[in-house]
Symmetry: C2
Subunit: 343 residues, 2 copies
């Protein structure tokens, strides 16, 4: 057991989680190779960070998406995007991320490498670094390949005050792009649907759109939220509930890609409940809405941005949908689970 030899292997062994030689090998040959940063390198129990300010955002996300590789992304790019976006939604500049992994015994090391490379690329795009991490290995049948946790910290930008509780009657509701692509991309891959035009997940870190938005319109932005699980419908319900307002959503104005619409029609999904992983909802001062749309649509990542609704005073906590046929109906929180393990 202590003889210093490492057996050659191309899969994760229980001993990779032992705190011993195989684990050190995993850290040096895999984690440090892809994710080396000055903060990670000392391999201390915690990373030491020097922040720009004392007002920070702190967030955590678990990722259990199935399958782990899907059109437009994988569990690695999804994890980094999700945590970066959560920091942005709090008005913070994403800075340092932690990476926690649960690996199932037998997981191919080639898959781990592919995920780490994807994490590296997404971190580069988002301007963030992995500064600390932890990996545990569980036996066969005790997990499903790999689960990821990413937590993150970032400094909140000066003058920015965004919160789910800050929507006010009269505010405009904006979405940054077409909705539902992530949900359809993962669902199609999982179920072996062969789409003539493949739907790529929208998963991406939104740094390049949201940071300049925060800098140009610090006071006009009241709420920022990314419509992940439960989609636009769940997110608007959370905002209405936290702010004690009502929101009217105009169905015809919500940008939806044709292929996403077609798959939804075919399979009976409502795109308003499908998760996005690279889109945000902004509730903004009405006088600034047109300028914000003009700015967003000038960016590659937000070409389809649109005003999709309005905040009203009452009934508090409710979201109403003005359908394409002119009917006003309540848009509820989902009560069941349409798409388990979608993120």
């Amino acid at each position: 057991m202590h003889n210093g030899e490492i057996p050659p292997c191309d899969r994760i062994l229980l001993a990779h989680g032992s705190g011993g030689l195989l684990m050190r090998n995993l850290i040096e040959k895999f984690f440090l190779r892809y994710l080396c940063s000055p903060e990670l390198l000392p391999l201390d129990d915690a990373a030491e960070l020097s922040l720009e300010s004392t007002s920070i955002a702190f967030t955590t996300d678990m990722f259990v998406v199935k399958p782990i590789f899907f059109p437009g992304g994988d569990i690695g790019s999804l994890a980094i995007s999700g945590t970066v976006n959560d920091l942005l939604m709090k008005g913070a500049r994403p800075g340092s991320l932690s990476l926690g992994l649960i690996l199932e015994e037998g997981f191919p090391l080639a898959h781990l490498e592919r995920i780490l490379e994807s994490i590296r690329q997404t971190c580069d795009r988002a301007g963030v670094r992995i500064v600390t991490g932890d990996t545990k290995v569980v036996g066969r049948g005790e997990a499903d390949g790999v689960y990821i946790n990413t937590a993150g910290v970032g400094c909140i930008l000066p003058q920015v005050k965004v919160s789910g509780a800050n929507a006010r009657p009269g505010d405009a509701v904006i979405v940054s792009g077409s909705v539902g692509r992530h949900g359809i991309a993962v669902m199609a891959e999982r179920n072996g649907l062969h789409l003539r035009v493949p739907v790529l997940s929208d998963a991406m870190p939104m740094t390049q759109a949201v940071l300049p938005l925060l800098e140009r319109f610090p006071k006009a932005l009241h709420v920022l939220r990314d419509p992940t699980r439960g989609g636009v419908a769940a997110t608007l319900n959370e905002i209405a509930s936290s702010s004690g307002v009502s929101i009217v959503l105009t169905e015809s104005t919500v940008p939806i890609d044709d292929t996403v619409s077609a798959v939804c029609d075919l399979l009976g999904f409502d795109p308003l409940y499908l998760p996005c992983e690279g889109r945000f909802i902004a509730v903004v001062e009405p006088s600034a809405a047109a300028d914000i749309i003009a700015f967003l649509t000038s960016l590659d990542d937000c070409r389809d941005a649109a005003i999709i609704g309005e905040v009203t005073g009452s009934p508090s906590g409710e979201v109403h949908l003005l359908t394409a046929s002119g009917v006003l109906k309540i848009l509820d929180l989902p009560t069941g689970e349409m798409l388990p393990r979608i993120c």
Copy 2:
């Protein structure tokens, strides 16, 4: 699916992870009931924190311990202790923690409540708060009950400079208490061993010992590390490697409880490789070692603290064990896995 009714149940359903009504119910009736904090309450995508300084420690840990309840603790108290201790080992005052959960479909809600209550109590003892969280649900057979991630941030104390790379020849090596209890407690519970005197896990947040230690001896402390996976042997090897020094450990001076010794003798475990979850290794200025031991042994949590070894200059990166019989042998990193899912 959107009819607003919640089915009564005493177990986790896939829909608890949906972003819908059942998830909101889980958050309000369970998470906020046990873990309510001003930072968590807005339920935004990230928590907003005001720190005392810009020099912080940031850490993450995954917990997959099996069984989830064991003598002296459970996966909840273990998670909080582990992350709090990692921040302390970097010379930081533990402040805010995140909580990420992966729940298996069918997991009893009563177990979730017991774990949340344990998390609450351990947070109180450690003086920290859960400020942000995320929960995912996976299908039956895709996890083993519950897995936890905790990440944490804390401000580094002024004048403190501890790192695994800071051990110097001549330094004394101290352990804060008897070793190996956590490993034996979990292993005995998992295997149904009936010990006449039960071994309780040592898992605990070490705030009450380490913070005053950092305040009294800021400059004499060179390295702080908690000997978790791989135990004292792995931790000393990491220190020797990071600092480019050699360490001589004197076997007879390592405090080990009688029952732990007896179980190790019986089953062939080496207590130096067993994980602790409420102990630390300190590498200290030799002139301060006696004062540090006097201070530690005056505390309830560290009554058995002892000097167990010494740092020497070479051979760089090696740890040597001076056995009870006077033989000097190399103490390696473990290469296999003695105790999977021990934390």
